[in-house]
Amino acid sequence: MTHVEREQWDVIVVGAGGAGLRAAIEARRAGARTAVVCKSLFGKAHTVMAEGGIAASMANVHPQDDWKTHFRDTMRGGKFLNQWRMAELHAQEAPERVWELETWGALFDRTPDGRISQRNFGGHEYPRLAHVGDRTGLELLRTLQQRSVGLQQEDHRETGDHEARLKVFQEFTVTRILKDGDGRVSGVFCYERESGRFLVLEAPSVVLATGGIGKSFKVTSNSWEYTGDGHALALLAGAPLVHMEFVQFHPTGMVWPPSVKGILVTESVRGDGGVLRNSEGRRFMFDYVPDVFKEKYAETEEEGDRWYEDPDHNRRPPELLPRDEVARAINSEVKAGRGSPHGGVFLDVSTRMPAETIKRRLPSMYHQFKELADVDITAEAMEVGPTCHYVMGGVAVDSETAATVGVPGLFAAGEVAGGMHGSNRLGGNSLSDLLVFGRRAGLHAAQYALSGAGGGVVAAQVDAAAAEALAPFGSPDGHAPENPYTLHQELQQTMNDLVGIIRREGEMAEALERIAALRARARHVSVEGHRQFNPGWHLALDLRNMLLVGECVARAALERTESRGGHTREDYPAMDRSWRPVNLRCHLDGDGIALERTRTEPVRPDLLALFEREELAKYLAEDELEGGRGA
Amino acid sequence: MATGTEPPGTDRTATGVRSPGRAAIAARHLRTDRWWLSPAATAAGLLAFVAYSTWRAFANADYYAAPYVSPFYSPCLAENCVPMRGGPNWEIFGSWWGLSPALLILVFPLGFRLTCYYYRKAYYRGFWAAPPACAVAEPHRTYTGETRFPLLLQNLHRYFFYAALPVAGILTYDTALTFRNADYAWGHAGFGTLLFLVNITLIWAYTLSCHSCRHIVGGRLKHFSKHPVRYRLWTWVGRLNARHMLLAWASLISVALCDLYVYLLATGTFDDPRFF
C-alpha cells in the first residue's frame, strides 16, 4: 500500500476562485473546519479576469429594478432552459451578497449619492452591474481573499494558529474524489505541484468550485487552470453533468497578435458606447436582431445612440444583444468576407468618446491593448472575434443546497455547476452566481459535514489514485511515448474546429472519433524529469479531464438537434420549443460518456406569470403552456 | 552549453541575492542596460551644485548688484551684510557674527532639500548606493533605512517645509525689488528681472509640490467629500507633486543661475541688459 500523508477536515473546497472562497468563508462561519485546495497561488484564480461587474438588482441607478426583472432577464438570456429555482434564488440573493462584500472592505465605484454604482450590460434591462472600473473580478476575489485572511487572523487570536479552521493548500491539484463503502464522499486525493508529493484530505463534504473547461478549446479567454477538473472529478465520482452542449463564445476576444488570441475584451466597451463595424464600416449588428428580441432593441443608429443618455425613452443598440447573438453575428460577417485584416471585426470606442473618458472608464482595456498589441484604443478601433469564454453546462445540482445529484457529500458551485444560466449566461451573472451559490454550497456542505455523515477513506482507492497519477512516468509498454503537449494541442484544435461556435452533425461525429483516438493515445503519455514542479506531468494528468469534458460537449451537442443559446447547429438553425423541457445529462460509462435525457421540472406558475403570454409562447412547448395556464 | 555557478550555502557570509536558498546566480545583477547612468548623473549634478554653493556661501562677497540680491544671501541676517536699499537686510544676529551671512539662512533651504522625499531618493541612490539602481545589489552589509538616528530625522521634513515658506516669501519680495533700476527707481526691468521671475516661480512650484505640503493641505483627511476646498487644493498640489523631481532640479539650477548672474554683475563681468 502506498504511504500517503492524511489530514482530517470537515469541508474541502476544491478551487479558490470566487465560488470556492465564498463557500470556504461560509463553511468556516458555519463552524466547519475548512480546507481550500487550489492549483495556483492563493489569489490568482481566474475570477480576477472578470471585468464587467456583478449583476444584482440593488436599484441604485434605476429605481424600477428588482429581483423579478433580473430573473426575467436571466431566463430570457438562457432561453428558458435555466434551472428556474436557481435563477430565482440568484436574482433574490445577489444584492445581499454584493452588500456583504462592502462590509469586508470592497470598494465599488459610487453613485453621486454614495451608493454602489451600477452599469448597463448586454441582456440586462436596467443598469445593474456593480463594478470597479473594468477590474471587478479582481476586486471580488481580493475581497474574499482578504476576508479569508481576516478569519484566519481571528482564529490566530483565539487559537494561536492561523490555519486552525481555514487553511489554503495552494498549488495542489485534486485528481480524485474518494468515497466510502456506501458511496458517500470521504475525501480527496491530491498532489502538491511544487514537490509532487501526494496528500489525502479526508472530509465528509467536498465542494467543487473549479471553474470551466475553456482549455479544451484553442481560442479561449480562459487560463491554463480551466481544464474541466471539477466536471471530470464529478463524472468520475458518479455525478452527472447537465447542459454540456452549451458553451459560451464571448463575442469580443482579441484576435491579434497570435499570442494573445482569445484574451477578453470586456463587454463594458459596448455597454459604454463602443460599436461593432465590419470592413465596410457598417454597424452590422442592426442586421442580426432575432425576432424574439425585435421589440427590445433599437432599429436605427440614432435611436441606439440616444439610449446611452436616455434609456427610458429609447431602445438599446443591438451591440448589447446577449453574447450568443453577437458572437454568431461576428462569425457570419467574417465568413462573408467582411472581416478585419486579422480575421475579426472592428470594435470602436475611439470615435465615440474622448480619449480621457476612455482611459478613465476602460483603464485595463486601454492598458491591455497598449501593452499586448501596441494599439491605442483611444485612437483606433480594436480587432475582435469570438473566443471560448464560459461553459453553461456543469455538474447537476440541487438548486437550494448545491448538492450534486447522486453523490452524497459532493457539492458544486460557480461555473462548474450547471443549470443556473440555461443555454446562455448573461454578462455579470457569473460573479453574482459565484457569490450566491458559493455561499449556499459552503453552508450546506458544512451542515452536512457537521451532521455526522460520511465514512472512511478506502485504502484501495488511494492506491489506485496514486498509481494513476504516477502512470505518466512509467514506460509506455511497447507503444511510442506520447507528448502531452501534442495531445493537448490536437484536442484543442478538434474542439475548436469541429465543436465550435457553429456545429454540424458530421463534424461532431468526427470529433467524437478523434477524441476516442486521443483518449487511447493518452494512455501512453510519457513525461520526462521528476515530480517537482513538472508542467509536463501536470498537463498529462489534466488531459484525462479535458478529454472527458470534450467528449461530453461533443456528445450532447450532437444529440440536441436545435439551436439555442450557446449551441448553434447549422443543420438545425432554429430554436425548437419541444427541446425546451429536455435536459441532456452526461454519465461516465466505462471509459467514455453516455447521455441520458431528463425532463425539467415545470416552471412555478407565479414565476411564469412574470412574463407576457406572447413571450412565453416563443419559448415554451405547447404542453408546458397548457400546464402553466392550468395552474 | 551552460554557465556553472557555485551552489549556495558554501559561503556562510553570503547575503542578499546570494543568500542560501535563493537562485544560485553569482552576478550581483544581470541588468544589461546602462543602469549606472542615472545615479552617476544625479551624483554629478548634486556634487556640482554642492561645490558651487559651498564656494559661493563662504565667499561672503559679490552677492549684491543693485537691484539684485543673490538668493543665497537673502534675507541677510548679520551686521556684516552689504547694505541693500529697501532690500532684505535684517540684522537679527548683530555684529558678533563674523562668518558669511549666507550660512545663517542657507540652513533652511538646505534642510528642506536635504529631507525632501525626492532628494532623499536621489542621494540614497547616487551617493549611498542604497540601492544604486533597481535590482542592482547594494554594497552594504546591513541596512536599517530611516528607522534610527540620524536618518530618523528625515521625518522632520514638514517642519523644514514650514520654514521654506517664509524663505520663498522673502525671495518673492526680492524679485519684486528687481523691478527697480540700479538707482532704485521703480518701474524698470532688466534681464536679471526675468531670471528672478523664472526662479521664484520654480521655487514656489517646488515648495508647493512638496509631499508634506500635499499631506497638509488635504492628504491627511479621511473624507475629501467633507472638505471640498481642501480636496481641490490637494488635487492641484498632487498635479504639481507628480513633477516634483523636475521642479527640484529646475529650481536648483535656477537658484544657482540667479546667484551666478548677481556674481557676474557684482564683479563687473558684464552689465545687466535693461528692457525698460
Binding site: G43, K44, H46, V48, E96, E102, W104, G105, R110, G114, G133, L138, R142, Q146, H162, S223, W224, E225, P258, V260, E371, L372, N483, P484, Y485, Q532, F533, P535, G536 | M1, A2, T3, G4, E6, G16, V17, S19, R22, A23, I25, L30, T32, D33, Y117, K121, C134, A135, A137, T142, Y143, G145, T147, L151, N155, L156, S212, H215, H223, S225, Y231
Partner: protein
Amino acid sequence: MSTYDARFRVWRGDAGGGELTDYTVEVHDGEVVLDVLHRLQATQTPDLAVRWNCKAGKCGSCSAEINGRPRLLCMTRMSVFARDEVITVTPMRAFPVVRDLVTDASFNYAKAREIPAFVPPAGVGPGEYRMRQEDVERSQEFRKCIECFLCQDTCHVVRDHEENKEAFAGPRFLMRVAELDMHPLDAAEEAGLDRRRTAQEEHGLGYCNITKCCTEVCPESIHITDNALIPLKERVVDRKYDPLVWLGNTIGRRRNRRAP
C-alpha cells in the same frame, strides 16, 4: 508573419544549485517572453518550471527577472529586444527558489496575515454603506494591485538584506496599510487599532528609503511611493513625530529599552 531564432539564457535549477542554460528558440511576430518559454516547454524542455495563469497581465503569476529587471513574463513583448540580443530569464532573486523560474512566495503570504483586516464600522449594516467616489478613489488605486510581488522582489530592503524580512512588510503590504488607513469607513481607530503607529512600529515603514524601485517595476503603474508610502510616512509623522510628542516618546522609549 516573420519568425526568427532568439537566444535565451534561462536559469535552471533548484534550492540545491543551478545554472544559466542557453537555448535557441523560434520566435513569431507579436509574441511575449512567456510565449517563447512555452515554446521551449513544448519543444525542448518539457519540465521547465514556470508559473503563469491569465497571460494578460491581470493575475500576477508570471513574475520573474528578464535581463536583470523584475517583470511579468506575459507583459514583456519580444519586440522590445534586438533580434541578436541574448535574453536572460531568471527567477525573482529576493525569494527562495523552488525550481527553475518558480520561487517560494510564502514571505508575501506571511506578511499579508500580519496586516489587520478591514474593520467594519459599528452600526452600519450591509447595504447602508455610503461613500463618495472621491473618498474611495485613493484606496481604489491600491486595490488595482495584482499581487505579482515584483515590488517586494525589487525592494532592496529585503532583496539585499535577508535579515530585514522579519521586520519589514514590503511595499505591497505597506500599501495595504495605506489603503485601509485611507478607506473612508474603516473603523480600526474606533476599535483601538492605530494603523499609522503600527505601520512604523510593526510593519517597518521606517526601512523604506523611498528610492522608488517598487513604483518603477509595478506592472499596474500604481504610484506606490508617491501615493501610498510617502502619504503613510506623513501620517506617521502626524502621529509620532510631532516634535514635542516625539521628544517625550523618544526619551520614554530609551528608558524602557535600558530598563530590562
